[in-house]
Each structure stands twice: as C-alpha cells, then as structure tokens.
Symmetry: none
Subunit: 234 residues, 2 copies
DNA sequence: TGTAATCTTTGCAATATCTTAACGCCGGAA
DNA sequence: TTCCGGCGTTAAGATATTGCAAAGATTACA
C-alpha cells in the first residue's frame, strides 16, 4: 500500500468531525469531510473514497437512507458511527449493507483498527485447523474418540450413547468450564427446556461408572452455578 | 511507539501548569496546555491528544461537565487532578468516565507513572479487539478468562461465581481504579442499594483465597474512599 | 409383541453460596 | 487523648444449587 487510502467522513457535529479528521490525517490518510447526508452522497460519487465513515444522526437525511442509497450503486466499505444510546440501530445498519459499526465514545486506537480491518477485509480467510484429537488420557481414565471406547484401569467401561457424547464433549474441551446451557444445547439440541435435571442425572451415572468416589471426583468437576469442567488431558 | 505521545493539560493555575508542562516536555512528551475548560474541550477536538490531564477546579466550567462532554464522543484517557480538600470528587469523576486521578500535591514520579499506565491501558484496548486477552498474570497469580480458572503458585484456586466475576472485572482493568459504585453495578446490577457491605465481604473472601497475607495484599489494593485497584498484569 | 436397555421425570436430601448483621481495627480529626 | 468513619472479618440464617435414588416412559430389537 504505497498510496494512502482516501476516506470520506460524513458527520454533522463539528467537534467529532475535527477530532476524526485530525486523527486520520495524522495517520497519513487522505480525508474529505461532509456535514450533511446530501453532501456526503454527492462526494461519494465524485471522489470514490476507499472507505466511508457515516454518522447516523444527520440533520437532513436518515442515516439508514444514506446507506441504502449508497448501496444502490457502490460497494465501498461503510463504517457507521452512532451514539451508544441507539444500540438497536446496529443490526439494521448492518442489514442494509454497512460493514462495521463503532459506538461513541470511541478512542483513536479503536477507530484506526476498524478502518484497517475494513480496508483489508477481503484478503483474510479464516483457516480452520481441524487437527483432530484422537484420544483423551487422565490418570487411570482413557477415552478414544475414534473407537468410541472408554477404559478405566485398562478395563472397558460401558457408557450409553448420551453418556459418551457428554463425556466426549467435556474431554474435547478438557480444562475448560462448559456451561450447563452450552452442554444442554450440544447434547439435547436448542429446543430442550433449560432444566438441567437430566444433565445432572447423566453426570451422576457417568461418575458412578468412572469415578472411584463419586462424591470426590477426580475427572469431572462441578463449577457451581456455571457448569462442568474435565481435568486436562495429559 | 517511535513517536512520543501527545498530552493535553487543562489547568488554570499558572504555576502548576508550567511545572507539569516542563516536567513532561523533559520526558519527551509533546504537550499542549489550556487554561480554561472551553479551551480544553476545543483543543481536545482539534489536537486529538493521546491523553488528557484535567484539573477539576476550573474557573469557567465545572470539571465534571468537561468530563461528561468529552465522554460524549471521545474515550481518550483522562487523568483528573484534584486537591486533597475535595476527596469525594474523585469517585464522581471516575464514575463519569475519568481513567485515573492524582492528588495535589504530587511528585513527578507519580505523575509519570500514571501517564504511562493510562497510555498502556488505552493501547491495550486495540490489542484486545484483535487478539483477545486470554489471561492475567501477576506474581504467583494467574487468571485464565477462557478456561474460567484461577491458579496460585500453579495450584487451582476455587472461586465462587461472584468472586470470579469480581476478580475478573478487576483483572481486566488492572492498573486502573474501579469505584465501588462501578463495581457494584457491574456485578450486582443497577438496582442494588449502594451499600458496599457485600462487596467488602466478597473481597475479604477473595483475599483469603489469593493473598498470602490478606492484611497486606499484593494483588488487589484498596483505594480508601474510592474503590479497588488490581496490580497490572505482566 | 415382549423384554431389556436406555432415557426422562420426580422428589428430596445434602451441600455450597449469598446476604445480612455485628464487631474489631486503624488512621485522621477534634 | 477520645471519637468517628471507613474498611476488614467473622458467623449464622436464608437461599440456591446439586447429587441421587427410584419410578415411569420410551426405544431397540429379536
């Protein structure tokens, strides 16, 4: 990026406009400002900026309309600026085609980060590293995901389907607390009521099978009020 | 950070103003001064300083109003300067969004330390949004937000739900004073009465669990009349 | 269709946590 | 010095959460 990106700022409040303009100029961006929606739309067309910063609270046009009109013909990234008191606008603005959202008050660091992110947005693809875990070991307990097998002191332990799913979920996230609601959704799906009885019963059954003393578990711990945590695999 | 940070000093007393300005210039900071609240607000917008030092006793505007107006649109760190005779102002200023306070008379060492802390704190916000903070470390204490786990000398420490929330809140804002009222609202919600009894009890319980000597804490400090401050993560 | 295994629900006891209240300590002010 | 306000500490009752056994419902399979 040898040439600095150009930015169009559409903002009616004097203080904020000058604050942002100065910040961005100091960073070497080429910046143009507009204080009304109409002016902003006009400048968008004539300048073709690399990115548009848009305050939703404009005097002449509704910010949502500005987004809609821009999106009719342009796909320039739009970062919306809005007051904290209007949080619900966020979803609507994003639905209309805004790319990001920043809430007043904000710091320069945050603003710059949003701009950089939007500018390089296209390049990044999340590379999912699906390195799969073959087994869990802890003390006398072994869990083989592939073979669907659990052993205690070398001897096979029989778990029911749900019990294996549950223990497996915990083992795959060993060391981390999984909340009751997360576990419930993963095992019983999103439509189950949030009554944990069934989870507690299954855990009691699992503990009876894998813990020497279920009252003082060595493998699966309860985090009261939160969920369960399995000892980290070694 | 090759460029030195810029600081805006809003202070009406000539002597103090020149003293601070000289001190900071010698440290290589780029410093601008304002002698009234209005001038300060105006310069904040046009200069975009990295940090603002604000004396609460200004001739034209109430210091609290200055904070309030700045916080409408900016989250630049504000360090409040206050006279010892107005102790109760400090908590109010912090609640309105100031980041730290310093009491007159103060030494240059203390001032510089506060400035460095605030600068570090604001630059961490950017790191947070990109790569989230997984852990807090300080001495023998570790707090892993993702795993919901606290260790002391490598051994797991059991905290209750409220205790973890409270310690986590302080850890995420380590180095910064959090007022009692702020903490109360964050943990117990806005409808709790402003009786800090319950907060004190919880803090005592936490200290019993994580401090070698709860009477001389190493991790969480009391700022009498204001709130608590946790040692900065290293 | 019958049987055994599994899954889910129910009710209660055991335990952990939260909250309130009372008291002691310390440092600053009178 | 004594008084007083703010904070830390402890203990105990109230509340919430969890473990467990056992009964009922469902499923799988011969």
């Amino acid at each position: 990026m040898t040439l600095k990106s150009s930015i169009l700022l559409i903002e009616d409040e004097e203080n904020i406009r000058s604050f942002i303009a100065t910040t961005l100029k100091n960073q070497g961006y080429k910046i143009t400002t507009a204080s009304t929606g109409r002016e902003g739309l006009h400048l968008s067309a004539s300048l073709c900026p690399d990115i548009i910063l848009l305050d939703l609270g404009l005097p002449d046009l509704d910010g949502m309309d500005v987004i809609r009109q821009l999106r009719d013909w342009s796909s320039t990234p739009i970062i919306v600026i809005s007051a904290r008191s209007h949080e619900q606008e966020k979803a609507k603005a994003l639905d209309l085609g805004a790319d990001d959202y920043i809430t007043k008050p904000f710091g320069t660091v945050e603003l710059l980060a949003r701009i950089r992110t939007s500018l390089r947005h296209s390049s990044q693809l999340s590379a999912d590293s699906a390195s799969h875990t073959p087994a869990y070991h802890h003390g006398n307990l072994t869990l083989d995901f592939e073979k669907h097998l659990v052993t205690l002191n070398g001897e096979m332990v029989h778990l029911t389907q749900i019990e294996f799913k549950l223990l497996g979920l915990l083992a795959m996230n060993s060391g981390k607390v999984l909340t009751y609601s997360y576990i419930m959704e993963k095992i019983w799906g999103p439509y189950i009521d949030n009554n944990n009885q069934i989870l507690r019963v299954n855990m009691a059954n699992i503990r009876r099978k894998i813990e020497e003393n279920p009252a003082a578990p060595e493998h699966v711990f309860t985090e009261i009020g939160i969920g369960y945590r399995m000892a980290e695999s070694d």
